[in-house]
Amino acid sequence: MPNISVTINGVTRSVREGVTILEACETAGVEIPTLCYHPDLSLAGNCRMCLVEVEGWRTLAISCVTPVTPNMKIRTHSKKVRHARRTVLKLLLAAHNVNCPECERNKNCELQELAEKHNITINEFQTSPKPVSFEEASPGVMRDNSRCILCTRCVRTCEELQSVAVIKPVGRSKEVRISTFLDRGLNEVPCTQCGQCINRCPTGALFETSEIRQVWEAIEDPEKFVVFQTAPAVRVGIAEALGFPTDRSTGKMVAAIRGLGVDRVLDTDFTADLTIIEEGYELIDRLKRALVDGDPESVLPMTTSCSPGWIKFIEHKYPDLLPNVSSCKSPQQMFGALAKTYLAGKESVDPSKVICVSVMPCTAKKFEKERPEMRDSGFKDVDFVLTTRELASMIQEAGIDFANLRDEKYDKWMGDSTGAAVIFGATGGVMEAALRTAYEVVTGQEIPFNGLNITPVRGMEGIREASVTMPEKMARGYEFLAGATLKVAVAHGLVNADKLMDKVRAGEVDYHFIEIMACPGGCLGGGGQPIPTSPEIRQKRADAIYAEDAALHFRKSHANPEVQLLYAEFLHEPLGHRSHELLHTHYRARD
């Protein structure tokens, strides 16, 4: 598109034709306040925060939805604009429960920040604060509609990014509320508990179900043996959640958790590596049964199963495709099952005293741990799940000076990690890790990508595909794959998963293996990660993930020394009897 000339606050600038006033001002370095606008979502133009004055216009323009026209003269902070913005802000605040100190989002709230920036001290429209209007027994995602400003970011997130659409505006006029089918709880509708709505809520109307109190109680209890596990994406989110720039901070995070007073700090990466081995062998087994034995029960493509938002989604929306899902439990649940069996044995502690706490970039993990089938250790495998944000809150509460901590290492038995496990945190990472291991198992050689970096499966494209052709010479027992081309696909964000599974259901694609992550960007963009989120923020976290991978000594899951020990001493073989008992699961159709 050609450039056109516009005047912003008296300065003439050349901007691309077709951009909105908001985008033109952004390019010019002129900030316009917004609330309903979000870079990941379609335009709504409903909050009226971004009003600007356009010369010759009778009314103010909604800058986020108004395209620039040639020679447009825009004023972004004239008296008229400032008055209108202050009124809009006061009206939004008047209908908002302004009990800020009690809110999960205190000091990280866009409405609060705007009120402060616009110096709203007295609000003549303010009604007395409304009581909490919504509480429910939802395992991962909670709502408090008294804090809602009806911007519909959550509604657009649920539909446009996740293809779930369980929350909608309900009612009319002053009775409008963001609600669900027949105003039911989020636990009673097909909500995946992914928490993407939380990440995009400008206020505290959506937040995770907190388990901080329970975790502190367990830490305080001298009877309990508290074991923490940290998911791959938490190490690139925790610094951000504590107010520092995005960075990988694994060592500091381990030190901080140890500082909370827990008994062992271990790594979900350990079971991510284990997942790769179990899932890799499952894929090879499915390929053999389908291609060699002609077993009709061996269903392809196989999809990954680490993302609990994805699992709940497929249980609701594609129950007929459940046989395609890998039977592997997620790394979190594998960890829990082993913590109360293998680890308890290694540490000589009574498994009934072990409390397994996960730190996850995810709210759906809170739902996953409540699944009744996740008790294969004889106990509830995972007791509590904290989001990255909740861990940051605990670190702050404990007064730990995160920035000046010395790097520390994970404890032993389930603390080893490889680069392959770290990249689980980014979309495409499970696929890359699986290929690094599976290729080597079946060919006896390293996968022929420069530096083991399988770049075709990396990136932020919604759906990506790649293929790997096997050599003619295979490892013994895998000759049936000689010269075969393995076709794989990667999708992130459930709207992309939805598109891909439609094609799988219709038989339009011939992939062998599909990685799906419920959240945009993968776990690094999970519903438990720091707020805000945007494509740029997620890219920074992805860069940190791949930097961590490159920096690690072991970069292939099967090279993880503690995983090797686990097989030698406890599991004996992939897909073996104990694996099936502890590490694999089943799924069910949900209404």
Binding site: E159, V164, A165, V166, I167, K168, P169, V170, G171, R172, S173, S179, T180, F181, L182, V189, P190
Partner: protein
């Protein structure tokens, strides 16, 4: 014998198609035949159109003439909008509630009358106004309102 909700939706799909633009027609058909829109009908419409249940619920919740609860044989809809309110609709509501022994939004135990409030019904110059089934009543007084609902079968 009345038809089942899914049967009504099935014939509505035949008559109006299954695009988004047919949603209002489907809802109206169900509401007309059953007097309300039960959960099964919402699910059937959502499945036919290929949208979430929440979306259909969102649409129907916008209209005060649609209800998800069974209603009485007669529906009294009192206007709650500002012109009628300034002309005394609150007193009319109090009179109706006391005459019928129910609150707005409820149905008498004998299913004789459902009392509802509605947004503007276009009778602002003659308020307070109400609709009894499809018949408008204007310039109401509390006594008149009591007399009208007392006479409903």
């Amino acid at each position: 014998m009345s038809r089942k909700p899914v049967e009504i939706v099935a014939s509505a799909v035949e008559n109006h198609g299954s695009g988004r633009e047919a949603v209002m027609e489907m809802l109206t058909d169900v509401n007309r035949e059953l007097g309300y829109i039960p959960e099964e009908a919402i699910r059937a419409i959502a499945a036919a159109v290929g949208v979430s249940n929440a979306e259909i619920y969102s649409v129907l919740s916008f209209y005060s003439f649609f209800s998800t609860e069974p209603r009485g044989r007669n529906i009294v809809r009192l206007c709650k909008t500002i012109s009628c309110e300034m002309n005394g609709s609150r007193d009319i509501l109090a009179a109706l509630e006391s005459e019928l022994g129910i609150k707005a939004g409820e149905t008498t135990p004998d299913r004789r009358v459902t009392l509802e409030t509605t947004s503007c019904i276009g009778l602002c110059d003659e308020g307070p106004a109400m609709l009894v089934n499809d018949t408008p009543h204007t310039r109401l007084t509390p006594e008149e309102a009591r007399r009208i609902v007392a006479g409903l079968e």
